[in-house]
Symmetry: C2
Subunit: 179 residues, 2 copies
């Protein structure tokens, strides 16, 4: 039997559907927003995966209609899917995170601090990451205005906090080398 790649996407979808039944479109939004800092998936990857997961018996869907005829599929977990999710969360995560950062790699190929390309490159990234940091902070303010909100979605708070700290570090690091 072939084990194949880990198919982590399915687990993430299980986790998202466990929070509440959702459409593929909703899931795609989640990958752009709250979890996009830590995992990415397009709708073209999500819709086929949903079909596959329904075939496996981990999720089911209910057809609904918005307005006159806009068809939606509201997916939710089966008990089997829920069990799979619980097992995944509980098992160890021995792999360090994988980051792909094209900018940092370009820096690697800059040989001296005097290279005229260096400062503009750092400047460009600073603009980008400051904007991202501001955006994440803004989101924390709106999503978690008080302790009650934090307590009700603690995991979400944790990862947003992590993402903000990470961006803050990135900006600080860039500024350390900016003149």
């Amino acid at each position: 039997m072939i084990i194949g790649q880990r198919n982590r996407l399915q687990y993430i979808i299980l986790g998202l559907l466990n929070q509440r039944p959702q459409t593929g479109y909703d899931l795609a939004k989640a990958f752009e927003n709250e979890i996009g800092e830590f995992w990415q998936a397009q709708h073209s990857q999500i819709y086929p995966m949903l079909k596959r997961m329904e075939t496996s018996g981990d999720i089911t869907h209910e057809d609904t209609v918005t307005g006159e005829k806009l068809a939606k599929k509201q997916y939710s977990l089966t008990p089997a899917g829920h069990a799979k999710l619980v097992a995944w969360v509980s098992e160890p995560s021995p792999e360090l995170s994988a980051t792909k950062d094209e900018f940092i790699l370009k820096l690697y190929f800059i040989k001296t601090a005097a290279d005229p390309r260096l400062q503009p490159m750092l400047q460009e990234q600073a603009v980008l990451h400051r904007a991202q940091l501001a955006h994440l902070k803004q989101r924390r303010e709106t999503v978690f205005p008080n302790q009650t909100a934090i307590d009700q979605a603690y995991g979400h708070y944790l990862i947003l906090d992590h993402a903000i700290g990470r961006e803050q570090y990135y900006v600080d690091w860039l500024e350390k080398f900016l003149r």
Copy 2:
């Protein structure tokens, strides 16, 4: 004409070969070590890419033999390849880095601070990231023992510094939530 995916791997290989002629094996090591924090590629991806790049005229190779018969291919840049590298480094990098972190995603699905799984999960990751941090610091000590070493491979120093700071943040963040 189809534009296709960005094929960043080729540029990274160009950059590595620009430092010094290397074999595919050497390149695979680089992806495990100095740049592995920011890009990953296995030898099974590297060898075919080298052939492709040689066909495109960006690199060439020289056959050498170690010992009695161990054949090696020492790849190096052609002028065309060098030009391609320079163009890549100079062009903007408007995309934020992409991170895939399975552990953080698991946290997202933890609903309350009282969940009994939370502390062991944080603990496990702390062990992992402390080890990684120690490893990176150790490498900085050996690779960059003095200012001269830094000046001679500034880009390398920059990205190692970035990776250390990032790991330090990760550990600090984990410890913030550990009791």
